[in-house]
């Protein structure tokens, strides 16, 4: 079975986000970028399935600016076999919307015919949590989102999902889309020899026009602003003082 894993280049999760003074967006110039953490978990899961012998080939896809090549190389260094970059934006500040990404991925799926797509449940930049579900809709496939456990049993994937109230296990017919949550696995680091080897793995470049997909946005960003700041609080010296303040000052207990 072939597995397709979409990966996104996003601001590194440790970087402090700064909103641009003119309200046009978040400043991404000269900021450390990395693979979306949920996508790393997706890549790792695909590699583990390959190590178990369930999967023969892992194809990673990224849609965005050409620097997303670095993200794809990271995935190749972790253990993916082949990469496709869809050059869909010139400016790092352009975020291709999940619907457009899903349409491009649907075309890639048509060409590649994977048995399974494993994706991160959400990207930590736009926090939309949508691409996997949208891709699944466009393909008419089953979906298993927010996975914390994945087992392949014949033509089915048995997936345990993190839901409100606990865990839900469902069985989906493959081909299917699985989106992964934090607890699925701990992604490996790429070793230096593997990073060197990854440079020689195939990376194909495409454009949205190659797939006949219009990526123009449906949502116009009117403005981007700083969230409301919380006023600085006070330090208390004891539990007694804390309880007194909560009772008499804040009135919450």
């Amino acid at each position: 079975m072939k597995v397709l894993v979409p990966v996104k280049r996003v601001i590194d999760y440790n970087v402090k986000v700064r909103v641009k003074a003119d309200g046009s967006g978040v400043d991404l110039a000269n900021v450390k970028m990395s693979m979306n953490p949920f996508d790393e978990i997706a890549v790792e899961e695909a590699i583990r399935l390959k190590e178990k012998g369930t999967v023969e080939e892992i194809v990673v896809v990224s849609i965005g600016v050409k620097q997303s090549q670095e993200t794809l190389r990271t995935a190749l260094a972790m253990g993916a076999d082949r990469a496709i970059l869809v050059n869909a934006a010139d400016d790092v500040h352009t975020d291709i919307e999940p619907l457009a990404v899903a349409k491009l991925l649907a075309k890639v799926v048509e060409e590649e015919q994977p048995g399974l797509v494993i994706a991160g449940k959400q990207a930590i930049d736009n926090d939309m949590n949508a691409t996997g579900q949208m891709l699944s809709a466009l393909l008419g496939w089953s979906q298993a989102t927010f996975a914390s456990e994945v087992a392949i049993e014949g033509d089915d994937a048995v997936v345990t999902r993190e839901v409100d109230g606990g865990l839900q296990t469902i069985k989906v017919k493959m081909p299917a889309i699985v989106t992964v949550d934090l607890r699925l696995n701990e992604p490996r680091y790429a070793s230096l020899p593997n990073i060197m080897k990854a440079k020689k793995k195939p990376l194909e470049e495409k454009t949205p026009a190659d797939y006949g997909v219009d990526v123009s946005p449906r949502l116009e960003v009117v403005k981007t602003s700083e969230p409301a700041e919380r006023a600085a609080g006070v330090m208390v010296g004891s539990v007694e003082e804390l309880v007194s303040k909560l009772k008499n000052e804040a009135g919450v207990i």
């Binding site: 999760y13 402090k16 986000v17 909103v19 978040v26 919307e97 619907l99 930590i124 926090d127 939309m128 949590n129 949508a130 996997g132 579900q133 949208m134 699944s136 809709a137 089953s142 979906q143 989102t145 927010f146 048995v158 993190e162 839901v163 409100d164 109230g165 606990g166 865990l167 839900q168 296990t169 469902i170 069985k171 989906v172 017919k173 299917a176 949550d181 934090l182 607890r183 946005p217 449906r218 949502l219 116009e220 960003v221 403005k223 700083e226 919380r230 600085a232 609080g233 006070v234 330090m235 208390v236 010296g237 004891s238 539990v239 804390l242 309880v243 909560l246 804040a250 919450v252 207990i253």
Partner: protein
């Protein structure tokens, strides 16, 4: 200007609080029809009809909808979409699973975790773990959105909408439910509790987490956890508060042994009063806390429990 609001059905049970909060948002957009979908929703539909401001309840009972699997529910909602300009649901795990699928079936974008409604086309939503708020204007004919319940007050009861029965869409039969593992608890629900007591990595073990739970019980609070505590196995996944967990805004949030990573702050910084107890005085949680106490949690928490008990 008609709005279809998906009633939240967690584990087949009608969730009044989440639904009533999303209703407050939906009412700003137009005339609200509530869709109650599940295995047998007669009672749930009756409860939804009592919410103030509901024009009509559409009750769809079908075995295929029992576990709110994405494919049959999305097919149902997309099939009903013709009559509505807005499709709204509270930002629950169910809605996050289903609504993007609905949006793609309708060839429109989804708007996730809306925190503010500017007008019928324009919405505010947090991005980058709540470190920025984006105002976006949709050019789509239909708007499909999930709303953050922490940002809207619950609509009151007092309505008496009519209930109409509807039919499910054909089930493509692509997926099936195996089991739910749900912790039964007498504690208030995390997303609607007035007080939340959360523990972090500092708590140290699953056994130690009992002191967080005891404090919560004395205070009549829900229990939350940081990602670090959940990843370490101290607390179950559905207690996680943060960017990718639950977003809460209680009257009082007590953070115990939580350092305050931005991903955690994203899930609780709209709380009215925040208390932080941490032995590290440099912990970033103190920057958002109204009241900070530098102390060993194993001394402070039992003392606090005694003082408020």
């Amino acid at each position: 200007m008609a709005v279809l609001l998906l009633a939240e059905m967690t584990g087949g049970e009608f969730q009044q609080d989440a639904t009533a909060k999303a209703l407050t948002a939906a009412k700003q957009l137009g005339d609200v029809t509530v869709l109650v979908a599940g295995d047998d929703v007669a009672a749930a539909a009756g409860e939804a009809a009592k919410l103030d401001g509901v024009s009509k309840v559409l009750a769809v009972s079908d075995a295929s909808l029992a576990n709110y699997l994405a494919e049959p529910v999305a097919a149902l909602v997309a099939g009903l979409a013709g009559d509505y300009e807005h499709i709204v649901a509270p930002s629950t795990a169910n809605a996050k699973n289903v609504l993007p699928r609905v949006a793609a079936l309708l060839d429109v974008m989804v708007l996730s975790d809306v925190t503010g409604i500017v007008d019928g086309d324009t919405f505010e939503r947090p991005i980058y773990a709540g470190n920025a708020i984006q105002t976006v204007k949709s050019s789509d004919a239909k708007k499909v959105l999930t709303v953050r319940t922490a940002n809207f007050d619950a609509a009151a009861e007092g309505g008496s909408a009519s209930v109409e029965d509807g039919a499910a869409a054909a089930d493509p039969g692509l997926s099936s439910w195996v089991e739910d593992k749900v912790e039964e608890s007498d504690r208030p629900d995390l997303t609607s509790a007035k007080i939340v007591v959360s523990g972090g990595r500092g708590v140290g073990s699953e056994e130690n987490f009992a002191i967080i739970e005891k404090l919560a019980d004395v205070m009549g609070a829900a229990v939350g956890a940081s990602r670090a505590a959940v990843d370490s196995g101290y607390a179950p996944n559905d207690w996680q508060v943060g960017q990718t967990g639950k977003v809460v805004a209680p009257d009082l949030y007590v953070a115990v042994g939580i350092s305050g990573a931005i991903q955690h702050l994203a899930g609780m910084k709209d709380s009215k009063v925040i208390v932080a107890i941490n032995k590290d005085e440099e912990a970033p949680i103190f920057q958002v806390a109204d009241y900070g106490l530098v102390a060993d949690l194993f001394d402070a928490v039992p003392e606090l429990e005694k003082a408020v008990g």
